[in-house]
Symmetry: C2
Subunit: 324 residues, 2 copies
């Protein structure tokens, strides 16, 4: 496991971010990251008998919230005299986000992606001038190739979720939501590596301290649910879900933040994920990826009762192939 540790060691300081880090992140990312709209829908509100506010990170540049964390991390690294570039490995949205963030800060970026990554995601990385190295489609190969490239290039590693700068950056989505919608009582967030939900609880701890932040994950990748139940981080599991962004185990830091602040993680069946994705397309006119739909499904399938309550949902991304 030594290469694992090497290639995941973040370049950021090893401390949990606080609210002022989120405010700092909001300032740092302002020029690169879009302030995404918050939408509501009459039909969904009638169905749930509550008020649901969708924070549309699927409309973010790069198609997901990941640009927030990547941009904050790159902004910090850009100020360090010895940083000559950034590097990550990812099969998904974080790779494209780091490419965009690095290009915006005029830093070279190296990205290691598995050879079976989605062509659209590979194209997004290349479009923004990142240097792509492909590897065998397993996690060990990604770690190994990334570790070798780190040694060779001297680039700074930016983890997709277990990094305080990344967490503080992701927190800005909830920050914007809470500044736009007062008195939120419940916020639903999809959980993969945990960067988004960790950031969300930090942002809302100040702006909506009575708000409950509820994690949502596929029943076929319920490591966060089980990790919280057992009080230890579960990293060995085989995810079985169409929600490709939520197959990642929790990080050490994100798990620590979750165990302190998150009381509930809801598990969503695959059929409910697909149904929620469809409902959002039809009602909200938004293309969302399955990982986003995981945080919508509990509202529609009756898993939680939100009658008369003000609810936020972070629609995390929209990078999905179009059927038909």
């Amino acid at each position: 496991m030594s290469s694992f540790t090497t290639a995941r060691a973040s370049s950021a300081p090893d401390r949990v971010p606080r609210f002022h880090d989120v405010e700092d992140a909001a300032r740092r990312i302002a020029g690169t990251v879009r302030r995404t709209p918050v939408l509501t829908n009459d039909a969904i509100d009638r169905q749930c008998r509550g008020g649901v506010h969708f924070k549309c990170e699927n409309l973010q540049r790069g198609g997901s919230f990941k640009l927030r964390g990547a941009t904050n991390a790159v902004s910090h690294l850009r100020e360090m005299p010895n940083v000559t570039g950034v590097l990550t490995h990812s099969s998904g949205n974080h790779a494209a986000a780091l490419a965009i963030a690095a290009a915006a800060h005029d830093l070279p970026a190296w990205v290691v992606m598995p050879s079976d990554a989605a062509p659209s995601k590979i194209r997004a990385v290349l479009d923004h001038g990142a240097q792509l190295t492909t590897c065998a489609p397993d996690f060990a190969a990604r770690e190994e190739v990334a570790a070798a490239l780190l040694a060779e290039t001297g680039a700074a590693f930016v983890d997709s979720h277990d990094d305080p700068w990344v967490i503080a950056g992701q927190a800005t989505a909830a920050l914007e939501l809470a500044l736009e919608v007062a008195d939120l009582e419940i916020v639903l967030v999809p959980v993969g590596g945990g960067g988004l939900i960790a950031g969300t609880v930090i942002a809302l701890s100040q702006l909506a301290p009575r708000c409950e932040v509820i994690g949502c994950e596929p029943a076929g990748a319920d490591d966060a649910f089980r990790s919280l139940a057992e009080g230890r981080r579960i990293t060995e599991f085989v995810p079985r879900t169409i929600a490709d962004g939520l197959r990642t185990p929790l990080g050490m830091m994100t798990f620590e933040i979750m165990r302190r602040h998150v009381r509930r993680v809801l598990r969503v069946e695959e059929s409910d994920i697909q149904e929620a994705m469809r409902t959002v397309w039809e009602r909200l006119k938004l293309v969302i990826e399955p990982s986003s739909a995981v945080a919508v499904a509990p509202l529609l399938d009756g898993a939680i009762d939100i009658s008369g309550r003000r609810v936020g949902v972070i629609l995390s991304g929209g990078n999905v192939g179009i059927p038909g």
Copy 2:
């Protein structure tokens, strides 16, 4: 044709709206109509070598810009002592828009729809408490049934496009766009009955007087192109297009406004409409209906050159079935 004239005679005064009518409409609709976001996309801008600003009326309540005109008309009618309800016939977005607007103003609404109207559109009308009468699926039957209902109910008729209050309401989409994006040089607008483009030229005549407003219509329903070329309104044609919102002939008032202010109407092939719809779904993560895609296609298929220019596109609606 007498029933035609009867059932289309708008309840509004017969004069072309001016810019102050648009400002008035903006105030009247504020509580009911959503200020929709304006989105940009890096990949589309690179492809066009210009800056394209998409005004997202697909994210409007009811799923289209039609709520703007319907709400403005209902707001005026609500102030008239002898108006006890509103009525229209429509197979599409205007029907649902009038139902929402009437409910918001606590007026009863009657809607005549053909028996083959899309179930989702029928549901939208019923959801908002409008009284639905179905009729045979041809235009003559719609006119006839609407005329009979008008006589019976004493309701005020609200035409879908050839009504100055409706036109002034639709104009608020371009008003918001121009207030958010300065120095627009070109705005692309889909053309069906002509209410949206007529409103757009009135709004931009004050806010962006040098901006060219270009109409976009399906090659299979190019009555606006031919009407402008021949200098007379063409109403007899058989539309052949998937853009169901653009099959309507121009109105008398909308034609007069277009012939004075619109220099170019672009005709778009069906395959380019489908391709543009797909590109918007994939890149912008937005569900748009074919009628909206008609105003996007000219940017992607090279029909117009926008290198280095600031362009607006009104994405008119998102009411379309999801494939797959």
